[in-house]
């Protein structure tokens, strides 16, 4: 820029330079110089007179705008022509022919919008710049280099693979198959398969090898069988006695339940006395008749006297008393020791009874051990307490004698197998007993009549 400006100034200083405006030269040396310190940049800016330079530059710019360059630099041909006094006939003719075909006059609005400057508008640099251009250039260069070597980028590789698979007719499995798909395929799960050759450590770290299931988990939590077959009385056409057996069993269960219920009711019952005529009468006359017996006069003053602080006035023991007590204590001890000695000696003669009692004790422990073991065994088949709720044994499925079907056709199945299975799972400690979650309404329901409905009424 600076170079250009200098050029211009040089051009202006030359003797052949013609200023566009005539006023450029007039006020050049009219003003007097003012004395100012010039040791600061600020004062330079303020007081140096650059008017002439400015004006000159303005003029240069004007020339450039208007004519497309400095007039002084233009060739003479472009500025002047030799006036010979005759108009160019051909030219006018050509214009006429153009006019015939089409009105060539441009719209006024277009004319207004035409730039009147001869200098082309500066280019928008940003429009031509690319962000990251350098990096991109570099990556593309590298890709080109790799492509020349035969290495494709991942994306293209996948695309090629997919297209190849499609061409060969092998369906590309894209969507995972649902677990309950009725047409799903099965295979030999327990076949030996190929033994794993990779490094076990690598497989573990990359989670390709599953953690070994502890053997403890393959034990069943209960010894009960998966399917408990119903008692023979549950046959659709049962033997009389087995049916009766089953009925009795069900009956006993029912009786037990009822007893528990009755007991509860008894315990919860309010013990209220019924009003008899006598009691009603008594109530009515209460307070009307003077009752003398119910006024025992208590001597209050005496009681107050007795309730005093404890009188702890113990006499000191005399020396003699102390000695006596000590002698007694020693005597007691001696007697006890003697007694023990004698007892021990006597035990020698009681050997038989002692051995008998020892035997008895041993037997008892043995019996208890057996009992405990039996109890533990029984516990194995019992449902455990696994949560908030206890396991409730389901009702026995029973058909009464008059409900029994006469033939297979008229049989009405009893109970639900689904419930049976569910209860069996609970009984075998596989799932904990639960109850259905209760629905709690957060807000009360509000009832309102619909308007339309009311209108019909």
């Amino acid at each position: 820029m600076a170079a250009v400006r200098r050029n211009k100034r040089v051009a202006a200083a030359q003797p052949g330079f013609l200023p566009f405006k005539s006023s450029l030269d007039d006020n050049s040396s009219a003003k007097r110089r003012k004395r100012v310190n010039k040791n600061k940049k600020k004062s330079w800016n303020k007081f140096s007179d650059i008017q002439d330079v400015e004006e000159f530059l303005d003029d240069v710019r004007l020339q450039e705008r208007a004519t497309g360059g400095l007039i002084s630099e233009k060739a003479d041909d472009s500025l002047f022509f030799v006036d010979t006094g005759e108009t160019d006939v051909k030219d006018t003719q050509a214009q006429k022919t153009v006019k015939k075909g089409k009105p060539s006059k441009p719209l006024r609005i277009d004319l207004i919008l035409q730039p009147d400057s001869h200098i082309p508008a500066p280019k928008n640099v940003l429009a031509f710049q690319q962000p990251n251009a350098k990096k991109q250039r570099r990556t593309s260069a590298r890709a080109a280099k790799l492509a020349a070597m035969g290495v494709l980028p991942r994306r293209e590789k996948l695309l090629q693979l997919r297209s190849a698979a499609a061409a060969s007719g092998v369906p590309v499995k894209e969507h995972p198959e649902a677990n309950n798909n009725p047409d799903r395929a099965f295979y030999d799960l327990w076949s030996a398969g190929t033994p794993e050759t990779a490094d076990p450590y690598y497989l573990e770290q990359t989670k390709k090898k599953l953690v070994k299931r502890p053997d403890r988990l393959n034990e069943k939590p209960s010894v009960l069988p998966a399917i408990e077959v119903i008692a023979p009385g549950g046959s659709y056409n049962p033997d009389f006695f087995s049916h009766q057996d089953l009925l009795r069993e069900a009956h006993e269960v029912e009786v037990k339940k009822q007893k528990a219920e009755e007991k509860l009711a008894r315990q919860l019952a309010v013990n209220e006395e019924k009003a008899t005529e006598e009691s009603i009468f008594k109530e009515q006359v209460q307070g009307l008749i003077e009752e003398e017996e119910i006024e025992p006069q208590e001597p209050e003053g005496d009681t107050e006297d007795t309730v005093m602080g404890p009188t702890a006035t113990q006499e000191k023991k005399t020396e003699r008393q102390r000695k006596k007590e000590k002698a007694e204590r020693i005597k007691d001890l001696r007697r006890k020791v003697e007694r023990q000695m004698i007892d021990k000696q006597q035990q020698l003669f009681q050997l038989r009874s002692i051995s008998a009692s020892v035997k008895k004790l041993e037997q008892r422990t043995k019996r208890r051990q057996a009992q405990r073991k039996a109890q533990q065994e029984a516990q194995k088949s019992m449902p455990r307490r696994l949560g908030r709720l206890k396991f409730q044994t389901p009702d026995l499925d029973v058909q009464l004698s008059d409900e029994l079907a006469s033939s297979l056709r008229s049989l009405k199945p009893e109970g639900s197998i689904l419930k049976d299975r569910f209860k069996s799972l609970q009984k075998r400690n596989i799932i904990e007993p639960r109850e259905r979650a209760k629905f709690n309404r957060k807000y009360k329901l509000k009832y309102s009549e619909k308007r339309a409905f009311r209108e019909i009424e």
Partner: protein, 578 residues
């Protein structure tokens, strides 16, 4: 005394257990997901021995898990899938809310899913483990396959359960491994012997559903999810052991015979094949064409003493089983439309019988009612209009009783309109001295090959209408029964009393067997005499218990007799009134 003071609940059982909520938080799962995970992985809650210690002093009832179990759960890859699913649901809900339908579509296509294969492999390390535990899976699958498609669970689950249960039934038919059937008021119990494992399962009657409200369907659906996977793999392996094609295919001949003109009336094109499979009337295709009547010979080992006895017993049972497997071979059944088709077809085909039904009843009928070669026609109504002469019209219970009795029972007691004998449970095994119902005694006698004579009489009398004679014959029947009973009881009583009673021996030199027996008895008597006091006491106690048992059984038998007598008297009265 040096060292830090020990704090409470920082060691011992308090640190071995973890409460459910803490476990849930440790896994960062919702309660429902945690429950699902525990069911799938087979982690069960545990009741601690000292609850108060574990619960850090509180006695509130809580569910506890072993901490080690929960640590093990942390490694499960499915946990990640659960979290993914949670996020998927959240995104889907958001997309719905914003009505971004294309987004919803895309998300649905990429719905996260997980596999349970590795869990099945982990929980059942060997195939036999899986077969041993298949009881639960079967019951659940059979149950779910009968559910109505009403939204109680996914329709796909129901379809998968149906498919797997059909595959199982077809395997049982092909391997002929059914052993026992019991028609109970709940459902039908089956027992099969698969690869040496006794497997019991229950099948509900058709259309017998009320949906109980106190059952957690989500939990049951989770179990079913696991069990379907397990059963699928077990089925695959079982089919392999029999050289059957999996998924099952009807063999060429069967497929041809099942082709009918009105196939599209029964089912859609896509469903008709599974429907045909579920008809159970045709055999399956094999990968290796099988040789008919291949019978594995039992290996014979030189054995002595007890081993010999055991082996003989084993051989006997083997023979019996082989005989049972061919129980219905050569018989041709026709099912009337009111009998439970699937169950009967299954049982009959399991024992080699041929079975068919009316064309309009179900797909897969192989012959018509008019077929002259039909031997048994199963009917469950009091009378039938058109009867063919050369076949038995019997009630369905006959089939089941035959299976349980392991022989073809006389058909007379199961004719149309006849009061049926009780259907006894085959799952009851009476020990010695127990009360055995007379029906069972009769059955046992039949099994032993004793043919009661009254059978023939009865047959003759069936045609006769004379009631008195009928009664008489019944009386005779009873008398003979009683005689039998008495005899048996006597035998039993003798068996016991031999050891106790001291009978003066008689010299019978000509009877060698007798002398041998007597010698044995004498030895036993002497042994008893030589017993120590304590042992003697125990022995006496045992013998007393046995005797009491017998006495009770006798009492029951007497009661039964009285009951029967009373019944008969009633009947007579009624008849007289008539």
């Amino acid at each position: 005394m040096g060292g830090l003071q020990k704090k409470k609940y920082e060691s011992g059982s308090a640190t071995n257990y973890i409460s459910r909520n803490k476990a849930r938080k440790k896994l960062s799962l919702s309660l429902a997901d945690f429950r699902r995970l525990c069911i799938l992985k087979g982690i069960y809650p545990h009741e601690p021995k000292h609850k108060k210690k574990v619960n850090k002093g509180s006695t509130a009832p809580r569910t506890f898990y072993l901490l080690k179990d929960i640590r093990f759960l942390l490694h499960e890859p499915i946990v990640g899938k659960f979290r993914e699913y949670k996020i998927f649901v959240r995104k889907l809900r958001k997309a719905y809310g914003k009505a971004e339908w294309s987004g919803v579509q895309r998300m649905k296509e990429n719905k996260p899913a997980y596999k349970l294969d590795h869990i099945v492999k982990e929980r059942y390390p060997t195939f036999i483990d899986a077969v041993r535990d298949v009881d639960d899976a079967l019951s659940m699958c059979f149950l779910f396959s009968t559910f109505a498609r009403t939204g109680k669970c996914h329709v796909q689950t129901i379809q998968l359960c149906r498919r797997l249960s059909i595959e199982w039934m077809n395997y049982i038919i092909a391997s002929r491994s059914l052993r026992k059937v019991f028609l109970s008021i709940k459902g039908i119990y089956y027992q099969a012997d698969v690869l040496g494992q006794t497997i019991t399962w229950i099948m509900p009657y058709q259309f017998a559903h009320d949906h109980p409200t106190d059952v957690d369907y989500r939990v049951m659906a989770t179990f079913t999810e696991l069990y379907t996977t397990l059963l699928g793999f077990v089925n695959f392996r079982l089919y392999q052991t029999l050289n059957l094609v999996y998924p099952p295919k009807l063999d060429g001949q069967g497929e041809f015979s099942l082709k009918s003109e009105f196939e599209e009336d029964y089912a859609l094109e896509s469903e008709s094949y599974t429907e045909k499979l579920s008809a159970l009337s045709a055999s399956l295709a094999r990968t290796v064409p099988s040789v008919e009547d291949e019978e594995a010979q039992l290996d014979h080992f030189p054995a002595e003493g007890e081993d010999l006895e055991k082996m003989e017993a084993r051989e006997r049972t083997e023979l019996e089983q082989n005989k049972q497997k061919k129980l219905f071979e050569g018989l041709k059944f026709f099912l009337n439309r009111e009998v439970p088709r699937e169950s009967l077809a299954f049982v009959i085909r399991c024992f080699g019988g041929q079975v068919s039904w009316d064309k309009s009843l179900c797909i897969g009928s192989t012959y018509d009612e008019t077929d002259e070669t039909i031997t048994h026609h199963i009917v469950d109504r009091p009378t039938i209009d058109k009867q063919y002469i050369n076949r038995y019209y019997i009630q369905p219970q006959w089939v089941y009783d035959c299976v349980n009795g392991k022989i073809l029972l006389p058909v007379e007691e199961y004719f149309l309109g006849v009061t049926l004998p009780p259907h006894l449970s085959p799952f009851v095994e009476e020990s010695e001295g127990d009360y055995v119902p007379p029906e069972k005694l009769k059955l046992l006698a039949l099994q032993r090959g004793q043919k009661p004579q009254e059978e023939e009489e009865e047959e003759e009398e069936e045609d006769e209408d004379d009631e008195e004679e009928d009664d008489q014959s019944e009386d005779e029947d009873e008398a003979e029964d009683e005689a039998n009973l008495a005899e048996m009881e006597e035998k039993r009583a003798q068996g016991k009393s031999l050891s106790v009673k001291v009978t003066p021996g008689k010299v019978k030199p000509e009877n060698r067997m007798r002398t041998e027996q007597e010698e044995k008895a004498e030895e036993k008597r002497l042994a008893i005499m030589m017993m120590k006091k304590r042992e003697k006491y125990l022995y006496d106690k045992i013998m007393f218990g046995k005797k009491r048992h017998v006495r009770e059984a006798n009492k029951l038998a007497a009661k039964r007799k009285a009951h029967d007598d009373a019944n008969k008297a009633d009947k007579k009265k009624k008849k007289k009134k008539c």
